[in-house]
């Protein structure tokens, strides 16, 4: 999500009065076509984003200024969106906490540990999983995962019940916030593993050899060269995953039976829904201001995604001097 501030088409040579083209000609047609296309593509993205933002603002605005009693729930927009925002962030964070280390492990295994004969098919398999539609994950979550998790949740309540997350009482169906988070984690795992694997594979060979020649073991070599080099790529992968988790509709809508609560209890039967799932569940029956309200929640989600992205970019930029890209 980088914004090309100004795209210099011809470089500094284009400035100043046109001189006689004595030393070669500046008419590089291919160059112009290429930079023109690239600029056009960049502008298209910006225009699209601006269009979406404008639409959300325009359609959502009535809900933002409406009298509290007119908004669904009867308490105004902010009380309406808060539990949803909370649920969205909570589910996505659970998913990311589970998926981030797993995806790094899977990617490292494929890129640096598995014998080449196994690595390639395994890579394809992971890529394939990324293409499975989310409804499949949702159904898997309801019918397979949730019942399996009930004893696990019970165990969590018994042993870790002093933590607010595992307070209980345990849901009898297993359809809880933690289940939703796990389903989301499984869902974003392939894309994150795929991105991580690609960036791990791009570590310059010379860097890896420098570490090995110093007497590094494979894991030391990975810590010295592969992981630092892949930092910004891993953040990008996590952002892709987080984006998918934040916006995921079906899997969450299928798994959770929502309530308008803010609760850190991850294994109970009352769970806050997420913005996306809430829109999907309520949009068909809504009309009038209720529609505006849903669109306004969409605006909140849009803003949230932006904020998360900016934070991630800032994290990456903080040690830019030390990034592998300078090698």
């Amino acid at each position: 999500m980088t914004t090309p501030a100004t795209t210099q088409v011809g470089g500094p040579l284009d400035q100043g009065p046109p001189a006689e083209p004595r030393i070669g000609s500046r008419n590089r047609t291919g160059d112009k076509i290429f930079s023109g296309t690239a600029t056009a593509a960049g502008i298209t993205i910006l225009v699209t984003l601006a269009g979406i933002a404008a639409f959300l603002l325009y359609e959502g605005f009535p809900a933002l200024v409406a009298a509290p009693e007119d908004v669904p729930g009867g308490e105004g927009f902010w009380p309406y969106v808060q539990p949803l925002l909370f649920g969205t962030v909570l589910a996505a964070v659970i998913a990311l906490i589970i998926a981030a280390p797993l995806s790094i492990g899977i990617a490292l295994f494929i890129s640096h540990y598995a014998p080449r004969k196994i690595a390639a098919p395994l890579g394809y398999l992971v890529d394939l999983l990324a293409a499975v539609p989310s409804v499949v994950y949702g159904l898997w979550g309801i019918f397979f995962l949730a019942p399996q998790l009930v004893p696990v949740f019970q165990w969590l309540e018994n042993t870790l019940g002093f933590l607010p997350f595992f307070e209980g009482p345990t849901s009898a169906t297993g359809r809880t916030m933690l289940t939703a988070g796990i389903v989301l984690a499984v869902m974003i795992l392939p894309i994150m593993s795929g991105v991580n694997r690609e960036v791990f594979l791009q570590t310059p060979r010379l860097q890896e050899e420098a570490a090995l020649a110093l007497g590094a073991t494979r894991s030391e070599m990975i810590r010295m060269t592969v992981l630092p080099f892949a930092r910004s790529g891993m953040v990008s992968g996590a952002m892709l995953g987080l984006g998918r988790a934040l916006g995921e509709t079906l899997a969450v809508a299928l798994v959770l039976s929502p309530a308008a609560v803010i609760s850190f209890n991850l294994i109970g039967s009352t769970n806050s829904s997420t913005i996306a799932a809430n829109i999907a569940l309520n949009f068909p029956e809504s009309s009038g201001l209720a529609v505006n309200t849903l669109i306004a929640t969409g605006l909140v989600l849009f803003t949230l995604t932006f904020v998360v992205n900016f934070i991630a970019r800032a994290v990456v930029a903080r040690r830019k001097d030390f990034s592998g890209a300078n090698a």
Partner: protein, 259 residues
């Protein structure tokens, strides 16, 4: 603790391609051995087989033996990682770790395998290694800057500092000066002269004068043609090699008649 190396009947392969064939040579401790020869004759390949770096390339393998003070580096049960801790290496292209500061680059080897050291001791090693690599004066005020912020020549000297910071028994250098200006080159050559009191040094170089200036013994590699394996043609005292080589090909190469 310099150690001697005895190479016996070494064949080196990339997959099914035999890049180097039948090398037998002795590398004396506390001396500098130069390897010369035309491009593609397998000097780098041979050098990398001396610290088992060759085998990190998929499909690459070696047959024969490399004996470091009585121990076969390719013997059963020998861990390549510990071989590399004893036989250090400087590469043809400078490769400091870009994500580490200059200071961290120098101590990178010391920090491996939990061999953490006190800060004061590390400071001392950093200064010593950087001074040894003739880089201290240029970087002493910016040790916390990234290694990649240095010029190419400075980066190469940083790599030398990094390699000598762990005090290896043997130091392998693959054209270490090819990215350096004449002054830095001379500094590195002086450095090698100092280092040879304590280390066994093997250097690959394309620069005949450099080989003649710094080395005690010189080995000449050659290939019969593309696709053929490289072979060690002749090896002798450097003075003999450059004045009265016994092989015609050596004489031709040294006097610049080909290659």
């Amino acid at each position: 603790m310099a150690k001697r190396i005895d190479v016996k009947d070494l064949d080196i392969y990339y997959g099914s391609f035999r890049a180097v064939e039948g090398v037998t040579m002795s590398i004396e401790p506390r001396s500098i051995t130069a390897l010369i020869g035309p491009s593609g004759c397998g000097k780098s390949t041979f050098l990398r087989s001396l610290n088992r770096m060759h085998e990190v390339i998929p499909g690459a393998r070696v047959s024969g033996s490399v004996i470091l003070d009585g121990q076969d580096l390719y013997g059963a049960g020998v861990d390549p990682v510990s071989v590399r801790r004893h036989v250090g290496m400087v590469f043809q292209r400078p490769n400091p770790f870009p994500t580490m500061s200059i200071y961290e680059n120098v101590v990178a080897g010391m920090r491996l395998n939990g061999r953490g050291t006190r800060k004061a001791a590390m400071d001392e090693v950093v200064e010593g290694a950087l001074q040894g690599a003739n880089l201290w004066n240029e970087v002493k005020d910016r040790l916390d800057r990234p290694g990649s912020s240095l010029s190419g020549g400075q980066q190469q000297r940083l790599c030398i500092a990094r390699a000598i910071a762990v005090k290896p028994d043997v130091l392998l250098m693959d054209e270490p000066c090819s990215a350096l200006d004449p002054i830095s080159t001379l500094a590195i050559e002086d450095l090698m002269d100092q280092l040879k009191k304590d280390y066994t040094i093997v250097i690959v170089t394309h620069n005949m004068q450099q080989a003649a200036r710094v080395s005690d013994r010189t080995g000449f590699f050659n290939i019969a043609g593309t696709g053929q394996p490289g072979k060690l043609i002749e090896m002798d005292e450097t003075s003999t090699m450059f004045s009265t080589p016994s092989n015609q090909a050596t004489e031709d190469y040294i006097s610049g008649r080909f290659g």
